[in-house]
Symmetry: C2
Subunit: 661 residues, 2 copies
């Protein structure tokens, strides 16, 4: 029996906890971690549990009390104040002194003889005195002696139950036989952009408005103020590396390319270099560093695309033929998803016997760009590479650059997407792109935000991408673009658009597909950034609203409310202290005016049913006086398809005049 | 990187699983274990998961296939065929051959060139041939060569997709980079009585009908045929050890006893001996062995009470003073739950520094009685001793006596009760004793049977105990006894009564309490076993029904159905193959006739809505022809407060006459 058989406290059902602590939960700096556990002991003795937490590089645990929620459940809270890895666990012990106090009180109240019982308590006090520091030890010894010598039982009891002794005994408990929960649970703490970000995706080669010349990183740099003005804080560039010529795709994904076709940026690598090189037409490493520097001034992160695949001309193919699948005829296996073929791309074979040097090389790619100043990576198709590889890579990267962010671009089966988040991706693409109706949106967003996923899966909502022009945008006209934008940016605190195709409302698709016609993936574009009908103003306004309203800087605080029209979606977000309450009603139908009665959850929001309140539409700047639950709305898709209300509570002053906050 | 980076298969969310495998699930011999897991890999490759299982003493895993349930969830099943500990886990690998088959088909269907692709498959076949046993290896080599040489693509494909090759390849997969789930999960397999038992609790000292003489084990033995006839298969005796005289309790728990008062059997130990001795008035060890032997002939197990506490006269008190709490005045701390005092009992102090020799001694107690033939222990107040002690003790006992059963008598907070079940108790007392109304019963039984508890918490329903005479039995008269008996014995496959107080409908309580007046705990009783109005017949009948109907030998198959009267409870149990379907309607009101319309779930039960069916009341032997969902019932508490229907489906024969099975 090589264990301690006298540890009587049980700690179980500790939450949050992902797969028994195999994976960390996620937080951003300044967020709370609320921990709950069942803590109890045999018998009727009182237990005292505490929540322990520390940064990974600290040895000593911080301790914070836990509070009883009833039914043997306890809760404690700590705040993560630095980026990096934190740990938490729970310790609990049988609290003999508190048990003694409670039982002594009952006996005394029942008129029982308690002289000997008092001495039992004195012994506990003496024991604590042995471990306490100087002054406390002295005070405890004084208490022990005074209570022991006290002839008057009432006097002794008043000392025994006094606040000073009680708090001294709380400060110096006997933890000799305490139980510490079997796991140290991890929290990965990121910077704020991990949960609150607005992404703008742009092809640098289309950043130039002169016909016939590829845009450059320098052109891109010139657009930074414009992008910042719209309110975006991450600028994501598709791959900027040399592009292969073998099997290069022509316009509209044609297997045959013309001489002037630039090829898909995802067909990475040529004799000019691979994943650590920059396409000569885009510029130099110095240009890239300059772009990053300029962006930083505007609080914009440059996000790099991490697409671990090669064109047939990539230097790896010659140097590391063993990293690829060789077919029985000696040729290299190109990418395919039968019957689809991607002849301009060769996938890496992660089952190669030489996986170790492959992994190290791919890590070098990340570190190379991180060294240039890149702190955000959008990872292309992470679900086609082993999970264990990403877990290792992200861990390695975060050890050196704890502020790094990885966005998982996986549109695949749900469990695969969730696993990628578990193993370390900071943010994830979602099915939002295809969720349009009220039922679809409510069901999907509840799945993402209300269960265990909230601890590790951070959604990023994209209404479009260079690969996806959803039906809703093809057929819904400008109102559909506005609706999808408002949904993405207010349902989720992380969102992104692929522009300028988005804000210019580009809607022409390949017939019968959800793909752009004349896609920018295969050609260089010149955009008219200020084309009439563009959405810059509304995008700018909404990003401003997001910044000014803390309630919109969180995804998991969303609640859906009732509205009696299937085309209207009604939801709210509020800060924990209710100081910022946002209510959104949106007309999901881009074709017709829709109206209905919303049900405002006045009780939950702390609004007096007997008093009217003001709802201020932050989009139109109109104000409405509402009262109680039911209120009427009417939304014209061609004007503005949504209200974004901030609730202004009316404050009653001594003067008995109401005014608005 | 001291791991294998090419293991691409993920296995997660494996169920059943208690606290990440820290505790075993429970089954009885012959039961199935249905295991589910999420199994998937990166990319689009097919995966093959298998369920592995073995008895603890076997080294080699048995393997059984798993079937896809959709959404990356898989299910497999194995049956536990022996008592003892079993293990299960899951293995999964990327199935390159199956992936190849699927992709080849798609390419061929799309009219693509596949000559080289065929050779890729040939390589897989050759690889499997290397690991296969002789004949299979030969066949595989033949396949590889034939396909390779085949000039006609259609011929090659027909071989490649043929059932022989497919099953050969399934039999010899390449598991080189397979993933095995990180945990070997445990199943503790018990004998059938662990889930199907009828307990009868009886004080042996009251087994004699002559006034003034204590009943003996020999008297008890004479009653075995009677108890067996009623249909009980476990006879549980309160402690049979010597009883202390110091602070002995008198009648009705009086702190002062008279000379003739026998004392509470739970005040264990006197100068005559302690937990391994038998009270001299009851008989000898030989008598006890004889009783066990006789009982065994009737398939009755004698269950022993394990009450780890002492009277002040217990030999331990002198020999092991260090096992008890000594108060500051040198006296021994007696049991108390302030302000209640139990002066005739001294609790053991499990926080003693000498816990190891204490534990060994208590283990000796169990082994001493097990050696006499006892295989069932009812444990008194296990929740007042450390959980870790029970976990160790039960484990030690089961190592030597795998068929042993421990019943936890803990009426305390839910999480404490559930933890005791987790750490090893075979069966558990429940709150059934105080659950009377429809809502209470449905809510509580759903909690016990429909969640994770079903894997480890086996309820045992007691309508009364020597300590508890619930209000319903005090005020409801004979009908209440029948109602509570039918509920206990049909809601739960494990139940027990404290008799003869139960079947004689003893209902006199201490005023204002749920305790028996003139409780048998403090005095010797002479019972008139054949008193008019006794419940022997109905008990006998119901135990017979339980034996004849497999549906009632399970607790977790219960389903509640609708009936439009709050005083009627309607529920059903069925075997998995629906060969035995029992429907029970019970009038929970012992005072009035109640009637209503039940809703029979005809679809679930496989009954044709267009055809009438027969319900056969196994209690009254009456038969009713019912049709469809809604059917009428009327229950008179003074006649029989319940129907226990067996559904007899009508079989249509060629003759076109219906007859009843």
């Amino acid at each position: 029996m090589d264990f301690e058989g006298r540890k009587r406290v049980i700690i179980e059902n500790v939450k949050p906890q992902i797969d028994h602590g195999r994976f960390p939960i996620k937080r951003v700096i300044g967020e709370k971690v609320v921990v709950q556990a069942d803590v109890f002991a045999d018998g009727h003795d009182e237990v005292t549990p505490v929540l322990l937490y520390r940064k990974a590089n600290e040895k000593v645990w911080q301790e914070t009390p836990m509070y009883a929620l009833g039914n043997d459940r306890w809760e404690g809270t700590f705040t993560v104040r630095e980026i990096g890895v934190w740990y938490y666990t729970i310790e609990g012990w049988v609290d003999h002194f508190t048990t003694w106090q409670k039982e002594l009180k009952k006996k005394y109240d029942a008129g029982q003889e308690i002289n000997v019982d008092i001495l039992t308590g004195v012994a506990y006090i003496q024991k604590s005195a042995e471990t306490a520091i100087k002054d406390d030890a002295k005070r405890l010894r004084v208490f022990a002696n005074t209570i022991k010598e006290e002839k008057n039982v009432e006097e002794a009891l008043s000392l025994a139950f006094g606040t000073e002794l009680t708090s001294l005994m709380k400060a110096w408990p006997d933890k000799n036989l305490s139980t510490i929960y079997e796991k140290e649970l991890r929290v990965v703490v990121d910077r704020k952009k991990a949960i609150f970000s607005a992404w703008y995706e742009m092809f640098p080669r289309s950043c130039n408005s002169e016909e016939g010349r590829s845009g450059t990183l320098k052109d891109c740099e010139l657009l930074i103020p414009e992008i910042a003005k719209m309110g975006f804080d991450i600028l994501y560039l598709p791959p900027i590396h040399p592009i292969g010529t073998t099997n290069r795709k022509g316009k509209n994904n044609s297997p045959v390319s013309q001489k002037e076709d630039p090829g898909s940026p995802w067909a990475i690598g040529s004799h000019k270099g691979g994943h650590t090189s920059i396409h000569p037409s885009l510029g130099t490493e110095a240009d890239f560093r300059s772009l990053i520097k300029k962006a930083m001034k505007y609080n914009i992160d440059i996000a790099m695309d991490l697409a671990f695949q090669c064109s047939p001309d990539h230097p790896y193919i010659k140097k590391h033929k063993d990293w690829f699948k060789i077919r029985p005829d000696g040729s290299i296996q190109h990418a395919e998803n039968p019957p689809k073929k991607y002849e301009d791309v060769v996938p890496i074979n992660f089952e190669t016997a030489n996986w170790k040097n492959l992994w190290h090389e791919l890590k070098n790619v990340v570190f190379c760009w991180a060294e240039c100043g890149v702190r955000i990576f959008r990872v292309d198709n992470p679900h086609t590479k082993p999970f264990v590889f990403w877990e290792w890579l992200i861990d390695e990267a975060k050890k050196k650059y704890p502020e790094i962010i990885f966005l998982s671009e996986a549109f695949t089966r749900p469990k695969v997407m969730y696993r990628l988040a578990k193993i370390g991706f900071t943010q994830s693409y979602t099915y939002f792109t295809w969720r349009n109706t009220k039922r679809e949106l409510m069901q999907y967003i509840s799945e993402l935000t209300q269960g265990e996923l909230k601890e590790y899966f951070r959604p990023n909502f994209w209404p479009n991408t260079p690969d996806i022009l959803p039906e809703q945008l093809q057929y819904g006209g400008r109102p559909a673009f506005i609706i999808r934008f408002i949904l993405a940016s207010t349902l989720s605190s992380n969102y992104g658009i692929y522009g300028p195709a988005f804000e210019l409302c580009v809607s022409e698709a390949v017939t019968g597909r959800e793909e752009y016609f004349n896609s920018e993936k295969y050609e260089i574009k010149q955009w008219d950034w200020d084309m009439p009908g563009n959405l810059k103003d509304i995008i700018t306004r909404i990003n401003q609203i997001r910044r000014e309203n803390a309630a919109l800087q969180d995804t998991w605080n969303i609640r859906f409310y009732k509205v009696d029209n299937e085309c209207l979606l009604f939801y709210g977000k509020a800060t924990e202290d209710l100081s910022n309450i946002i209510l959104i009603v949106i007309n999901l139908d881009p074709h017709h005016v829709q109206s209905g009665w919303v049900s405002v959850p006045v009780k939950t929001l702390g609004i007096d049913e007997n008093q009217s309140y003001l709802v201020h539409d932050l989009l139109s700047d109109e104000k409405y006086v509402w009262q109680g639950e039911k209120n009427y709305v009417e939304l014209h898709p061609d004007v503005t398809p949504a209200h974004i209300f901030r609730i202004r509570k009316r404050l009653r002053k001594e003067t008995d005049f109401d005014y608005y906050m």
